[in-house]
Amino acid sequence: MITLKNIKKSYFIGERELPILKGIDLEIGNGEFVILMGVSGSGKTTLMNIIGLLDKQTEGEYIFMGRTIDGLEDEVLANLRNMHIGFVFQQFFLLPYLNALENVLIPIVYSQKEIKHPRDKARQLLARFGLADRVHNKPSQLSGGEQQRVAIARALINEPDLILADEPTGALDTKTGGEIMELFRMLNDEGKTIIVVTHDPKLASYGKRLIRIEDGTISQDSKV
């Protein structure tokens, strides 16, 4: 599903080059559950942004679902994201004035796929995550764990192939964080490919594969 060949990424501050990723080679197949671990500043978030088609590498080749990503238009990238990737963030990023159901439905607005009965589907997802009676609540009326589950439902509504989660438990207490990780494991058991980016070593045991990033390179890649 994902093939990265010698991916490099640098930011330029004036004349000075600031390398973030220094040559990443990586292959992730369908149905994997990857924990991408690294300390802050290691380059793990930059790597996730590139994998998630939100950022472009300075050098190297990226093949996503058999397609070379280099030089694609913004619009094509937006469509690829919409169809194939579900995003989950540390801060949930729900829209405050929409209720849970409406938040889950946002990707449908931009969807190129024919999703049948999106509202019923959104309700089913929320019910499955234990939010059946929270459907009409605004994010401010939900707890952190509930908000994150709404965000995961939003990531799933468009039936993506890949779930990308950036520090999904970072804003939650340990117990709730554990529940969220269990949820990812359940989705993985159903066949979704999952990549969780984190700095928290306690999450390592939830995945099936652990990749450690240090100073812009892969320092460890092992089965769990």
């Binding site: 978030t45 942004n49 998630g52 939100l54 950022d55 913004d74 619009e75 937006a78 469509n79 994201r81 919409n82 169809m83 995003f87 963030f89 990023f93 829209l95 004035y97 929409l98 409406e102 439905l105 946002i106 990707p107 449908i108 607005v109 931009y110 969807s111 939003r154 468009n158």
Partner: protein, 407 residues
């Protein structure tokens, strides 16, 4: 597509509700602009209706010729100089040789006292022919008009205005009774319906109509007339007819180029011109005022949209992440600015409508809705919404998700 639009609408409305005070300020400019356009459109159309009513009450397609010098301005036609040169033969010539003239009716009017038993009343005596009743839309409440035969026989018969009937007869049946006019006993044969004051300032209800022949021979013994009512064919321009009549009468009066007219020609439009010009002046002022208001309203929406978009960076970021394209972002914010402008426009129509009702009530104008201005101002509101929203919406596409979400 329909789903996206309804979604954008929903978000737009929700944002409006969240930021009530701000949005109301933003749409006030549009509201005032639309309000003044709509109120003015309605009120001026009511005023025009009133003027048209007065004109049709007076008689359709009429040109009035009066001997001497008459100024037809403002409220009424004022006589400045008399002339005795207008004759019955002029009427005949006009009727025979002027194309476009349907009817030419001579009249002689003078104010005099009428007496019945011990009651007297100052009345306006009008000597004229039976055609006058037709072209001036005069109707009776009792009796009959005089006829060509009365005219030919110089019968001393009169049709009286409603106030004359009320004051002299006090509900007594006047038909067949005799009133003294110029000390001549005159038989009452009809009573006119109540008409009020016409736009020339003449109270129609104190008129006493007498056959012209009778009047000229038996009452005042004059050989000239005071004026002529000319009814023009439908579709013939009254202004042109005035010019042609002026040339024609100058010719039959043998006027040399350097000589002044010994008569005046005017139409009801001339008399009501001051009012029409007033409406036109106010309409120019309204257009200026509402243009300025639209500009201010547009700037208000522009500023609020810029603010709103910089506050909603995160929202833009998250939309981009889940697959929204730049044009989706533009479409969404345009929907919002158009909605704000439209709400301003709709409230403007409502307030303008209320103002119309109030002004019409106190100004005693007939109520009239001028739909043209309503549609126009709603359309302008939409255009303003688009123009004011386009730059802020473009700004919104500059926020890249990576930058917004990682801070």
């Amino acid at each position: 597509m329909i789903y996206s639009i309804s979604f954008y609408l929903k978000i737009a409305l929700q944002n409006l509700i969240v930021h009530k005070a701000r949005m109301i300020l933003a749409l006030l400019g549009i509201l005032f602009a639309v309000m003044s356009l709509v109120a003015f459109g309605n009120i001026s159309s009511g005023m025009k209706k009133k003027i048209d009513n007065e004109i049709s009450r007076f008689g359709k397609n009429l040109v009035i010729i009066r001997g001497g010098l008459v100024f037809a301005t403002g409220r009424g036609a004022r006589q400045f100089a008399e002339s005795k040169t207008l004759k019955l033969v002029d009427v005949k010539k006009i009727k025979e040789s002027m194309p476009g003239v349907v009817e030419a009716v001579p009249f002689f009017d003078v104010t005099y006292k009428a007496r019945y038993e011990d009651k007297t009343l100052s009345v306006s005596i009008v000597g004229t022919t039976e055609e006058l009743f037709k072209i001036r839309n005069l109707n009776l409440v009792m009796g009959r008009f005089f006829s060509g035969e009365d005219e030919a026989k110089a019968e001393k018969k009169a049709v009286i205005g409603y106030k004359v009937y009320e004051n002299l007869f006090q509900k007594e049946d006047p038909i067949g009774k005799y009133v003294l006019i110029y000390r001549v006993p005159t038989e009452i044969i009809g009573v006119m319906e109540e008409k009020g004051t016409d736009f020339t300032g003449q109270d129609q209800d104190v008129q006493v109509y007498i056959p012209l022949g009778t009047f000229m021979r038996r009452y005042s013994n004059v050989d000239y007339i005071k004026g002529i009512y000319i009814q023009v064919e439908d579709g013939v321009s009254l202004t042109q007819m005035k010019q042609r009549l002026r040339g024609f009468i100058r010719r039959i009066h043998n006027k040399k180029d350097e000589e002044k007219d010994d008569f005046s020609i005017f139409t009801m439009e001339d008399v009501l011109r001051t009012q029409s010009e007033g409406i036109r002046l106010v309409s120019i002022l309204t257009i200026i005022a509402s243009t300025v208001s639209f500009l201010i309203g547009g700037l208000g929406i522009f500023a609020i949209m810029l603010l709103s978009i910089s506050e909603r960076k995160l929202e833009i970021g998250i939309r981009r992440v889940v697959g929204s394209k730049k044009r989706d972002i533009i479409l969404q914010f345009l929907t919002e600015s158009v909605i704000v402008a439209l709400i301003g426009g709709i409230f403007g129509v409502v307030v303008g409508f209320i103002i119309t009702v109030i002004v019409d009530y106190f100004g005693e104008f007939p109520f009239s809705l001028y739909l043209g201005n309503i549609f126009l101002s709603i359309a302008i509101s939409m255009v303003i919404g688009i123009l004011a929203g386009i730059y802020p919406a473009m700004q919104g596409t500059k926020y890249e998700p990576v930058e917004v979400l990682n801070t």
